[in-house]
Amino acid sequence: MGAAGIGAGLGVLGSGKPIVAEFPELLPFAGITIRLDPLGAWFTLTAGLIVVAASLYGIGYADHALRTRAIQAIFPLFCLSLLLVPAASSVSTFLVFWELMALTSLLLVATEHRERASARSAAVWYGVMTHLGFVAILVALALLAGQVGGESFAAMRAGAAHVPAGWRSVVFLLALVGFGSKAGIVPLHVWLPRAHPEAPSHVSALMSGVMVTLGVYGIMRVGLDILGGGPRWWGFVVLALGAASALFGILHALVASDLKVLLAYSTTENMGLVLIGVGGAMLLGAEHATPLVGVLLAASLLLVLNHALFKGLLFLGAGSVLRATGTRNLDELGGLVRRLPVTGALFGVGALAIVALPPLNGFVSEWMLFQGLVAGGGSHVASAAVTMPLAVGVVALTAGLAAATFVKAFGTGFLALPRSRGAAEARESPGTMLAAMGLLGLGCAALGVAPSLLSTQLDRAVRATGTGVLHRPVRVEGGALHLGDVRGVMSPTFIALLLVGSVVAVLVVMRLTIAARDRRRAENWGCGRALQTSRMEYTASSFAEPLQRVFDDVLRPDLDIDVTHADESRWYERTIRLHAGVRDGIEDHVYQPVLRAYRAWGERARAVQNGSVHRYLAYAFVALVVGLLVAR
């Protein structure tokens, strides 16, 4: 199925001709209409890649999770809906696939409900937030369809120009809310760090790698393609949301000690980066700076694909760790690179890729994003000149923090000494799981070394966004990456070659000049201590502590110290318990009051139905009197 997705995606991107299909008898009153254009194909391709890997992974992973047949039947449905969402070309078709995706993923999130209460509550959070998004999207699309008098995307595209500007903005904002909630954009992200960790890992990979990006797809499809862009402030809004998400996501990822929560927050961060690109493109698009629009969109799209690859890889790796050790808590892991050599190495590749280091794929997309933003700041568009540098600052800060985050994740999770028995006795995963991870790792490397593999496809996808980008925003000439009319040039291929060459050169020099060939294993320097145990290691929490301190205005960590004094004297403490944690401030300050109001409302409403038949009759009586007065 995934292969079909890849095939369809590549086919459309290769030829530029959409795949069209119609099934009018399906889906009552609407019919299913499919039209996979290059933009959708890019996302289908992304989905297909991860679906292949996740399915392969699932073969080996299924004995750990997905025990019941019903759940196993849902997984392919989820994959199918992921592949079909980008292909939908009418409001109804889109929404049915969208909700199918939501439902199947919801059920998959709840898979492990018997084991953990957190999985149960995650399912509810996810269900409600996804439905919030659905309602927003439904209203947005149905509103637009109602305004233009047709529900096919083609009709909406044609009619959108004649819709009054106010309505266009309403549609756009609602779509932004709806798709933003799926993409995990702050402040609608709360479900993401709950749901993604609770799902079985290959499902997490699909959710984090593919499903969230479909939120971006929606924003692109509606904002750019169907509405054809809008006023400048649309771009500002998207850019601001993206920036907030990027920073918020990476800060929380930085302090998270649950490996999968860390990855989930990092997803919010990456979607933020993608939206910075999209927002920048919209901003410039409003000013008719089309060459740069293409560059920024290309960066965003490439980041989408890259993110799918490395985040998929990381989640699969996390699943492998979870399966081997039974814990996701980084503070209890460690030393896994020796127990799980393949998983460890591949997780390392994913971590380096997500930190955007050469020669891996994350670097290419981030470079493109920087180039687009820098060039946008240098363009003669005044509004862009102010915002773009700020966006560069945000992206830059995010990049730095991401480096710290993933050094933490890999360093404390896989290096050093095991901190728990589970970690010490971990066993490597079966071959199918490793092959799946290997596939994605290969993808990360391939796209990092040779982005030319997909440059024409990327080009087609960007031009399908309907932003009037006509010339090629991305070209590869002589191995070097050229972007639109940006003068910055870079060749990932050569960087990779030079790096490998240099490493080999250094190795050769060492081999020729060093007498001692073998290494001697020696005890670590213990600063005079005889004992070196894992208790002395830096844990994930301690690793992140300095940065947490730097950002404590934003993160507002909780710190509780419980001291129990000895009976004899209060100067001797018997136990000291330290509880430190970082809570999601947006959840505490935005969602909790809403939840409280919601519950209070529910309690208050009970008075309406208090059981008194008199009261009930009184309702009807009042209705009758009012009705009669109205009827006059």
């Binding site: 139905q609 008194s612 008199h614 009184a618 009586f621 009197v625 007065l629």
Partner: protein
């Protein structure tokens, strides 16, 4: 003469509805119900005589049997078995209730003026009266706490509707009329069965005890 008599019968019916709001004794209320039934039967009779309609005469006879005979009899038997023959304190005090009845009557007349205007005739003049009975009886339903008075309230309300039905539609098919009457009879019997069950389960007919089901 015809129209005066019609008016008189309608007036009696309306006054009966208002009186039912005022009285507390269950037996008295059942009697008021019978009186109202009589007034309705009189209206049917007058209509039948005036229009020379056999159907109306049959209806009049039916109303007489049902609303003056059977139902009050069944009810008064229930009342006699009741341990406490007086209704408990209504949830709205009587003075307020009577004022409300006046207001409701005004509303009913106001709301149905256009109905009369459609075909002004002695018969259609009674439509507002019927509506007023409906509203006042409905109000009684809301105000009363005893299951039996609620039952009577329902019947009063139904009488109001029957009055409207009589005067508004000259030839509503007899089948419908009979079906409706049969349904109502059944409903009353059902309610009566429920009342006796209620007495055995709850020991009283106080509806305020029926609040186990809420939310």
């Amino acid at each position: 003469m015809y129209s005066q008599l019609l008016g008189l019968a309608g007036g009696v019916a309306l006054v009966a509805a208002v009186l039912a709001l005022w009285r507390r004794s269950l037996l008295a209320i059942v009697r008021i119900l019978a009186v109202q039934g009589l007034a309705i039967a009189a209206v049917a009779l007058l209509l039948g005589v005036h229009h020379h309609e056999v159907a109306e005469l049959i209806v009049a006879a039916g109303v007489l049997v049902l609303k003056v005979g059977v139902i009050p009899m069944v009810l008064s038997r229930v009342v006699r078995d009741a341990p406490n023959q007086r209704d408990t304190q209504p949830s709205i005090n009587t003075a307020t209730a009577l004022v409300a009845a006046a207001v409701l009557t005004v509303i009913a007349f106001g709301a149905t003026r256009r109905l009369v205007d459609l075909a002004p005739s002695p018969e259609s003049e009674l439509i507002p009266v019927g509506f007023a009975i409906v509203l006042v009886a409905f109000f009684g339903l809301v105000a009363r706490r005893n299951a039996l008075t609620q039952l009577v309230g329902f019947l009063l309300l139904e009488n109001g509707i029957a009055l409207v039905a009589l005067v508004a539609t000259a030839r509503v098919s007899l089948v419908v009329e009979l079906g409706a009457a049969l349904d109502l009879l059944l409903a009353v019997l059902v309610l009566q069965v429920l009342t006796s069950r209620m007495r055995s389960k709850f020991g009283a007919l106080d509806l305020d005890r029926l609040t186990e089901l809420s939310d």
